[in-house]
C-alpha cells in the first residue's frame, strides 16, 4: 500500500450516448493511491460522463468502450455495485438521495453497503444508527447533526449535497469521485466541504480522490494534479499551476486573461 501505486486506470475510454452523441473520446488517465486529481473543463466537456462511465452508471444510457481497472483488476464489464464494493464511491452533480428517508437512514444504508456477509441484511437497521467518531466528526463539520432525524425531502438542495457526501464517506470508499461537491453552495459551506475532504484525507491515507469542480479555489486547495477536458478529450494534464498556465486551457476554459 505504498503511495504512488496505481489504484484506478482508465484507458482509451469512449462514451457514446444513445442519441449518438459522443461525450467522451479516448480518455486515458491513471490515479495513484492517495492522489487527488481534479477534472475541470467547460460545461458539457464530458466530465460527468467520464465519472459516470467509471462507476458504471451509464449502462442503459450509453455505450462505453475502453478498459477500466481498479487495483489492477479489470472492471469494464462489472455492474456498478460491484465496482462500488471494490472501493469506488461517488457523489452526483445533482444530489441523488432516497426521498422518503431520514439522514440517519442514509448513513445506515451506506454502512450496510460497506459491510460484508449475510449478517448485515438481518441486523435491525436501528443498530446501524450509531456513529463512529470519524463519522460524527464529518457530520459535525458538515453541520448535519441537527437534521439527522429529518427526512431528506425537507432539506434544501445544498444540504442534500452534504448528506450525499456524508453518506458516501460512510461507505468508506478507497476511491472517491466527487462531482461538483460545492456547486450551489455558499462560500461557507464550500469551505466546510473542503475541510471535510481534508479531514478524511488525513484520517484515511489510502484514499484517492477525483474531483470535478468549477470553483478554482476548491481545486487549488484540494487537488495535487488537474486534467482539463474539452469536447470529450483531455487537453491538459499537470499540476493545477501548470494547467492554469496552459494557454489552450486559458483560451477554452479559464478565459484569455485569467489571473495567473
Amino acid at each position: 500500500m505504498t503511495a504512488g501505486e496505481e489504484v484506478l486506470a482508465v484507458s482509451d475510454l469512449d462514451v457514446r450516448y444513445r442519441s449518438g452523441f459522443q461525450a467522451v473520446s479516448g480518455v486515458s488517465l491513471s490515479l495513484a493511491r492517495n492522489e487527488r486529481l481534479a477534472v475541470i473543463g467547460p460545461n458539457g466537456a464530458g466530465k460527468t460522463s467520464l465519472v459516470s462511465a467509471i462507476c458504471g452508471d451509464l449502462r442503459r444510457k450509453a455505450s462505453v468502450t475502453g478498459d477500466l481497472r481498479i487495483e489492477g483488476r479489470s472492471v469494464a464489464r462489472r455492474r456498478p455495485h460491484v465496482r462500488a464494493r471494490m472501493g469506488l464511491g461517488r457523489t452526483y452533480q445533482v444530489a441523488q438521495v432516497f426521498p422518503g428517508m431520514t439522514v440517519l437512514e442514509h448513513l445506515a444504508l451506506a454502512r450496510i453497503a460497506r459491510r460484508r456477509g449475510v449478517g448485515r441484511w438481518l441486523r435491525e437497521v436501528k443498530s446501524e444508527f450509531e456513529l463512529t467518531d470519524a463519522e460524527a466528526k464529518v457530520i459535525d463539520l458538515l453541520g448535519l447533526r441537527k437534521v439527522l432525524t429529518q427526512r431528506v425531502s425537507q432539506l434544501g438542495q445544498g444540504d442534500l449535497k452534504l448528506v450525499e457526501l456524508a453518506a458516501t464517506l460512510c461507505a468508506e470508499p478507497q476511491i472517491l469521485l466527487l462531482d461538483e461537491p460545492t456547486a450551489g453552495m455558499g462560500s461557507r459551506e464550500a469551505e466546510n466541504v473542503c475541510e471535510v475532504i481534508e479531514t478524511i484525507v488525513a484520517l484515511r491515507p489510502s484514499l484517492s480522490i477525483i474531483l470535478i469542480e468549477h470553483n478554482m479555489d476548491v481545486v487549488f486547495r484540494v487537488a495535487q494534479r488537474a486534467i482539463v477536458m474539452h469536447q470529450g478529450r483531455v487537453i491538459a494534464d499537470g499540476t493545477p499551476d501548470d494547467v492554469r498556465a496552459d494557454s489552450e486551457v486559458r483560451a477554452l476554459y479559464l478565459g484569455y486573461h485569467a489571473g495567473a
Binding site: S19, G20, N43, G44, D217, H230, G255, H257, A258
Partner: protein, 260 residues
C-alpha cells in the same frame, strides 16, 4: 385577458412590426425547488444594443435568460417589451408566448431536437412565429445571414460538431424573427476560429438589424467585443451595471467577478 394578445401577429400590431423596441427586465427572481438562484435582476436593453451578463459558473446567468423565458425554475418579476407605440408585458406570458412575442433564446447546450433534420428545425421554428407562408422566406434570409449552415440542412444534430451545432442554434434563433436575442454562452465549447465566426455573425446582425441582445458570457473578450454594457453577477445577484467602454481599458473589475 385574451390569450391571443401574445400571438406574433398581435404583438406586431401592437408594437409596430419593425418598430424599435426596448427590453426591460426588473426585479427578476428565479428559484429552483425553493432554492433562490437569482435575486432582483434588473437591466434594460435598447434597440441595437447588447448587454452582457458576466459572472462565474453558477452565478445566475443562465437562470436570468431562462427566467425571462419562464422555463426551468420558478420566475417572478417584470419583463416588458416597449416600443414608441405601446408596451407588451411578458411577465405572465407562457414560454411559447414569450417566444412568439419576439424574445428568443439560444440556449447554452444548444438543445437542437435530435430527431429532426436541421432544415426542419429551422422551418418549424420560423413557422411558429411568422406563419407558414412567410417561413420559407425567413429561413432563406437566415441562410443568407449564416451561410455556413446551408450545407447541413439535411443532417441531424448527432452529425454535427459542437461548434457547428452552435451556429445552427443561432440560426434557429434568428429564424424566429427575434426582437430581442438571448444568447447563452454563444462562445462556449467553440474553437477560437469558430468563436470568431460566431462573433462576426452576431456583430453583423446587431449592426444590420439593430436587434437587441442579451448575452451571458464567461469569455470576457467575447463579451467586450459584443456588448455595450455589462452586468456583473456574483452568486445570484447583480453587483453592478457598467458601460462596456470602461472595461476596454481596465479589466480588473470584470475579472474580479468572472475569473478566479
Amino acid at each position: 385577458m385574451p390569450r391571443r394578445r401574445f400571438t406574433a401577429a398581435a404583438v406586431d400590431e401592437k408594437l409596430g412590426k419593425d418598430a424599435r423596441c426596448e427590453f426591460r427586465v426588473s426585479g427578476l427572481n428565479v428559484s429552483y425547488g425553493g432554492v433562490r438562484a437569482l435575486r432582483d435582476m434588473t437591466f434594460t436593453v435598447r434597440h441595437g444594443e447588447a448587454v452582457a451578463l458576466v459572472g462565474r459558473n453558477g452565478a445566475g446567468k443562465t437562470s436570468t435568460l431562462q427566467g425571462i423565458m419562464r422555463f426551468g425554475g420558478r420566475a417572478t418579476g417584470s419583463v416588458v417589451l416597449e416600443s414608441a407605440a405601446a408596451t407588451v408585458d411578458l411577465s405572465r406570458a407562457k414560454t411559447y408566448e414569450v417566444a412568439r412575442a419576439g424574445v428568443t433564446l439560444v440556449p447554452d447546450s444548444r438543445r437542437l431536437f435530435p430527431r429532426l433534420e436541421i432544415g426542419h428545425i429551422l422551418r418549424l421554428c420560423a413557422e411558429e412565429v411568422v406563419g407558414r407562408k412567410a417561413a420559407a422566406e425567413r429561413v432563406d434570409w437566415v441562410l443568407h445571414l449564416v451561410p455556413a449552415v446551408a450545407p447541413w440542412l439535411d443532417r441531424k444534430r448527432g452529425e454535427l460538431s459542437g461548434g457547428q451545432q452552435q451556429l445552427v442554434a443561432i440560426a434557429r434563433g434568428l429564424a424566429m424573427r427575434p426582437r430581442v436575442l438571448l444568447l447563452d454562452e454563444p462562445s462556449e465549447g467553440l474553437s477560437p476560429v469558430a468563436r470568431q465566426d460566431v462573433l462576426e455573425v452576431v456583430l453583423n446582425l446587431k449592426r444590420a438589424t439593430g436587434m437587441a441582445m442579451v448575452v451571458a458570457e464567461q469569455n470576457i473578450d467575447f463579451a467586450l467585443a459584443l456588448a455595450d454594457s455589462i452586468v456583473g453577477l456574483v452568486s445570484g445577484s447583480p453587483m453592478w451595471t457598467k458601460d462596456a467602454e470602461v472595461f476596454r481599458q481596465d479589466r480588473t473589475e470584470i475579472e474580479s467577478v468572472v475569473a478566479l
